[in-house]
């Protein structure tokens, strides 16, 4: 430990006090930290309340007792308390499939089959299949909703995105124009507007007698919306595959779909996986917009938890908890993306 420190010390000294300008910058930064960190520390630790009820909390410091009391609500919102093992299982299932998808070792046909099965299982679990009373989606909430909507929309949008990207790259004028218009329309529109379409227009657009609940409507529209973004990333991958590949496959007598499915798309996907992971991180953050149309995702659940009359107004604490959850997932994912990029860059050949 001490030897490592001794080895790091010269670099540290050069990095902090190397030149006169550098010393000045260090001092200015320290001054800034001196102004902010102590008061933050006082709020978060020294003046904070860790146990007790709302009356024990002072306004001077953070009220972490609020978090211990309301963490359950932030994570699961209004889901019936005695059935909360179901959303918990949903989280576990989704984490498992995400972990499997993250490891190149598991990439293959099995994974593509496992995704829809997992989604269906999660759906059944959430809506309370095999219980006496099904649980309507307006009681779903918290982390499972965020993760589930994210995974479902992403999984459903990807096949649509592949078709859109292929159409945009094809020489079929009609479909190409359609794909271009669709993609540009979606990408030029804010997601909030798409959610309003799900909330205001979709119920009116459906035929009489067919009504679907708000959660499903949001999922449909968000899927269609994200498909445009994923399509653009996949298109970049398609463009990066050399023409010779398609020509060689044609020479072998393969038809269009087999060329795309067996030769082009696997290579294109390998190229754009880091881009898709970055997109997925952005999408996870974007699921928080569901709060705008009144779905109790993680963020909205946190906001609702601070509106509890017993624990009124501890918004900052609630937001910090949620921020930590989002940060852990997204920071981990972006680190994973960097690792994957290095790995795929190192051995361009398909890992077994």
């Amino acid at each position: 430990m001490t030897t490592r420190l001794a080895r790091a010390l010269p670099g540290l000294r050069a990095g902090l006090f190397g030149t006169r300008a550098n010393t000045l910058v260090t001092l200015a930064t320290l001054l800034l930290l001196w102004q902010t960190v102590p008061s933050l520390l006082r709020w978060a630790v020294l003046d904070a309340t860790f146990t007790g009820d709302a009356n024990a909390c002072t306004r001077a410091g953070a009220c972490w007792a609020f978090v211990t009391a309301k963490l359950h609500f932030i994570l699961f919102a209004f889901y019936p308390p005695d059935l909360q093992w179901r959303p918990l299982l949903v989280i576990v299932l989704l984490c498992a499939i995400l972990a499997a998808s993250a490891l190149p070792r598991f990439w293959g046909r099995g994974l593509i089959l496992a995704w829809p099965l997992t989604i269906v299982a999660c759906w059944l679990l959430m809506q309370g299949a095999f219980t006496a009373t099904p649980i309507p989606s307006n009681q779903w909430g918290g982390l499972p909703v965020t993760l589930f909507v994210w995974a479902l929309c992403f999984a459903a949008a990807t096949p649509i995105a592949v078709l859109l990207a292929l159409a945009r790259r094809s020489n079929l004028g009609g479909l190409r124009t359609f794909a271009v218009l669709y993609i540009e329309l979606m990408r030029g529109t804010p997601m909030v507007a798409i959610l309003y379409v799900a909330m205001l227009i979709l119920p009116m657009a459906l035929p009489d007698g067919l009504s679907i609940d708000k959660m499903l409507r949001a999922i449909i529209m968000v899927t269609l919306f994200w498909a445009a973004y994923i399509a653009e990333v996949i298109r970049a991958g398609l463009q990066a595959v050399p023409n010779g590949q398609a020509e060689a496959a044609t020479a072998l007598g393969l038809g269009y779909w087999r060329i795309q499915g067996l030769v082009i798309l696997p290579q294109a996907f390998r190229i754009v996986i880091p881009g898709i992971v970055n997109l997925a991180i952005g999408f996870l953050l974007a699921t928080s917009l569901l709060a705008v149309i009144g779905i109790f995702d993680l963020l909205n659940a946190a906001r609702a938890s601070a509106a509890d009359p017993q624990w009124l107004g501890f918004y900052n604490e609630a937001y910090i908890v949620v921020a930590v959850i989002y940060f852990v997932i997204c920071f981990g994912a972006s680190r994973y993306s960097q690792w994957l990029e290095r790995r795929l860059g190192n051995n361009g050949a398909a890992p077994a």
Binding site: T29, G174, Y196, L285, S288, C330
Partner: protein
Amino acid sequence: MEHFRDSGRNAPVADRRVFHIVLSGPPRPGLAAKIQAWWGGWPWGQLALLAVFAALGTLFIGNVLENMARIGILPGFAFLSSSANFEIGESPIAFRAGDTYLRALVAGLLNTLKVSLLGCLLATILGVAVGVAGLSRNLLLSRLVRWFIEITRNTPLLLQLFFWMALAKALPAPRQASGVFDAVFLTNRGVYIPSLYFVGGPFGIVAALGIAAIATLVLIVLLRATGRLTRRSGMVATGLAVAAPFAFLLLVGARPAAELPALSGFNIRGGLNLSPEFAALLTGLVVKFAALIAEIVRAGIQSVGKGQWEAARALGLHDGHIIRLVVMPQALRVITPLTTSSYLDLTKDSSLAVAIGFPDLVSIVNTTANTTGQSMEALIILIGAFLTINLALSALMNIYNNRVALKGSRR
């Protein structure tokens, strides 16, 4: 045009022969053949698929119209001229309950534009500063910047907006607020900053800036069209366009004045008041997108090879010159297209205003849809407005991108 005529007159004989051969070649494909070639293979399948999409669209729109008719709402945009019975918290143009819906929507659009433009400007300034600070050789500073960027990038914008909103509400009341240099007051009724204005002129400072911006744009486009746009003529044109409206104001006898906000009674008077919602939205957008732009700036500067720095040093240039003459022109080629998409995202994300109660276009559209029932028309207006803003912004940025792009690689 001049160029073509010249080369035609002096063209060698061989060229004329080539011209002749081309003319007497096979007939050029007709319109029908061109369309057929463009439409490509699988003609009937495409047609059938598009017909299915069209039928679905017609079915949905038909259902919407039918449902509207059933609850007694007339489809169309006639509602725009009827009076809107709601108030708007803040608006660049005067708006009272009872004015038309059109005016309400314009007010919302102006609010969206205001926050987007200011957001782009401030996020660029802060983002470049943070990006350069992140590249600093100072370990403490670059580490601090790293953490700032990671935290802002990996938490949702909406969460950050909620946080800034909670912060804005938790600021002290005006009476307790302490000013920064007695010029800026952060209070729970908003942020007060000094205001600049002209006394006794026919138009104000905002209008003057607007005229300056439009005049600059017109002059640049004119110069471009006549092929006389250079760095120098562009600067002169911009200078003239900016100076003219202000010179006019001074000539007609308007006097510039500054007003500091000051506490009087229970409130702060004078100066410019930014509402808590506006301040929170602007801060949230600026902080989030500054972090994104900082990353872009870092990537752009790092994309310039080390050899470029070394070669420039060998030529005896000092750091300031190297950055301005060698690094920046190359880094901008990477930075500009990425920043463009950041600006577009910022404009779209300004729609989150609806979640914290700032009356931007989205929230006005939402209110309009709820009070009139004309949700389809309202959303068409919303989506149309955002598409127009996006197209205009990307067209502008494309012009700029063409200027910084590698010559010869223009597409």
